[in-house]
């Protein structure tokens, strides 16, 4: 990108009016004027699409390119409802390009195969190199297939994880429908951090709803690598009141962690016990989407350390990582958190490209979980950037009480879902 000094800029004799002159002053010392700046966003999910759209909203003159191979995004929020037969599978599919294109984002259906943080460019599958001033990566998660002995990608073809929406969602749905009368559904849950902390317990609740109507003697076992979980009080209350005797949660404190899984016989061996299931859903441990490895942006945990003011990588200047892939502790990995981070990151990127200091955002996570088709519970956190520790601090947090207004939250949860899809994809 050619550099242009302020003196040179003024000597060009451009007719700077008062307002434009102010803009010139504010951008001095940077090589970039926003109408020349290029931002590339990788990933067409909740983080990536909302970031690309926010960039165009804040600075319409900016050149924003979004790289996403898939034409349709399959939403994980809502996939538990599909598994339980409360929503059609087709409702999860959303067109990646149309909403962003309307806002002036250049959407490329391709995959990034190279990132050069020094030269500031990316390489696509066809060999095309694209330069960037700022790169925003939103690759979501990948599974750590080596984490559980006996369970790997091949095994997932008949023992679903269903933790990325798609064929896996339908596989679990079909297995539940085909299960023998009075059968056992076992769900294994990894230790933190993982995508959607309350998701496994919402899944257990909605599967219980399905089974209560179709296979009422069936049972659900949750084999957890943790000793407590998100919205525990309200979920436990829901299981006792709505699905008495159907859902059993087994903490790692009781049986230890999973030792190995016999996928042929659907037996989960914990350190002190074993459980035979008729339908087995293994939610494997996770890490940042593989894309981040192209620039070695992950740390030994497999997730990407960032400064959660700008979401810029602490390992590679000029590259930002948002959504599930980044470490934004204490924010959980959720679609809501991803959209909140995407807006904060977009604001920061525009500020940085304009030579300004990014202002401190307030970030929010607010996650609903349905416990049946009408009732939902939620967990909320409000966060701000703590400059001294270069991390986020929790300003406020809370979750739905067992005696809360679950029906009202169910209405909000449905409408939030509609809003989230509209904001991201329309």
């Amino acid at each position: 990108m050619p550099t242009i000094s302020r003196r040179h800029f003024l000597s060009l004799g451009l007719g700077c009016g008062g307002l434009l002159l102010d803009a010139c002053w504010q951008t001095q010392g940077t090589a970039n004027h926003l109408d020349r700046a290029k931002v590339i966003v990788a990933g067409g999910g909740f983080a990536g699409l909302n970031a690309a759209k926010a960039l165009k909203r804040i600075a319409p003159e900016l050149h924003v390119t979004l790289v996403e191979k898939k034409a349709a995004y399959l939403s994980c929020p809502g996939s538990n409802q599909v598994i339980a037969g409360m929503m059609p599978f087709s409702a999860l599919a959303h067109d990646v390009a149309s909403g962003a294109t309307k806002m002036g984002v250049n959407v490329l259906a391709s995959t990034i195969i190279g990132i050069d943080p020094q030269k500031k460019n990316i390489t696509l599958t066809d060999g095309t190199q694209l330069p960037y001033d700022r790169l925003i990566l939103a690759p979501g998660i990948d599974f750590r297939w080596d984490a559980i002995e006996g369970y790997n990608e091949a095994a997932s073809k008949h023992i679903p994880h269903a933790w990325k929406a798609g064929a896996q969602t339908l596989l679990l749905q079909h297995q539940l429908r085909a299960m023998r009368t009075g059968g056992i559904v076992a769900i294994t849950v990894p230790d933190n951090p993982y995508r959607c902390p309350p998701g496994p317990y919402e899944r257990a609740s909605l599967i219980a709803h399905f089974l209560k109507n179709h296979n009422p003697r069936a049972k659900i076992l949750i084999l957890d690598a943790k000793s407590r979980f998100s919205k525990q009080a309200a979920f436990t209350h829901a299981w006792q009141k709505i699905y008495p005797g159907m859902v059993e949660w087994i903490s790692s404190e009781h049986e230890g962690r999973i030792d190995h899984i016999d996928t042929r016989h659907r037996i989960v061996h914990t350190e002190f016990n074993h459980h035979k299931a008729d339908v087995l859903n293994v939610i494997p441990p996770q890490r940042a989407g593989k894309l981040v490895e192209l620039a070695d942006l992950q740390d030994p945990t497999g997730w990407c350390p960032v400064t959660p003011l700008t979401f810029e990588s602490v390992k590679a200047p000029g590259i930002h990582i948002i959504g599930d892939a980044c470490i934004a502790t204490p924010m959980p990995k959720s679609a809501f958190a991803a959209q909140s981070q995407s807006r904060a990151c977009a604001s920061a990127v525009v500020a940085l490209l304009s030579g300004k200091t990014p202002t401190h955002p307030i970030l929010i996570n607010h996650c609903y979980s349905f416990v049946d088709p009408e009732r939902a519970i939620s967990v909320t956190g409000v966060y701000s950037y703590q400059p001294s520790g270069k991390m986020l601090e929790t300003l406020s947090s809370g979750e739905t009480a067992p005696d809360g207004d679950w029906r009202q939250e169910g209405i909000y949860a449905s409408d939030w879902y509609g809003l989230m899809m509209k904001e991201t994809f329309d």
Partner: protein
């Protein structure tokens, strides 16, 4: 969007972004999720104070309002009351 207006609004816009997750990018709301765009300034401030100190019944807004300082909610009230 360049120049003064952008710079002056950047700080509060960055904070107002946090409301967008439930009330929409421009605060337009969606079905049961209330619109906050164009909301009367005093009404906004009173509602947020009520949520903060639990004088106003809510499912989730208490948890959220307690994350904002008095100065921030006054600025948010200005921002949303002036958005039309």
């Amino acid at each position: 969007m360049a120049g003064h207006a952008h710079a002056a609004n950047a700080e509060i816009e960055t904070i107002a972004h946090s409301c967008a997750g439930c009330h929409g990018t421009r605060g337009n709301g969606h079905r049961s999720l209330p619109a906050i765009r164009g909301m009367d300034r005093n009404q906004f401030v009173e509602a947020m104070r009520g949520f903060k100190n639990d004088h106003r019944t809510a499912t989730v807004m208490g948890r959220i309002a307690r994350g904002f300082s008095e100065a921030e909610l006054l600025k948010l009230a200005d921002y949303f009351s002036e958005s039309h």
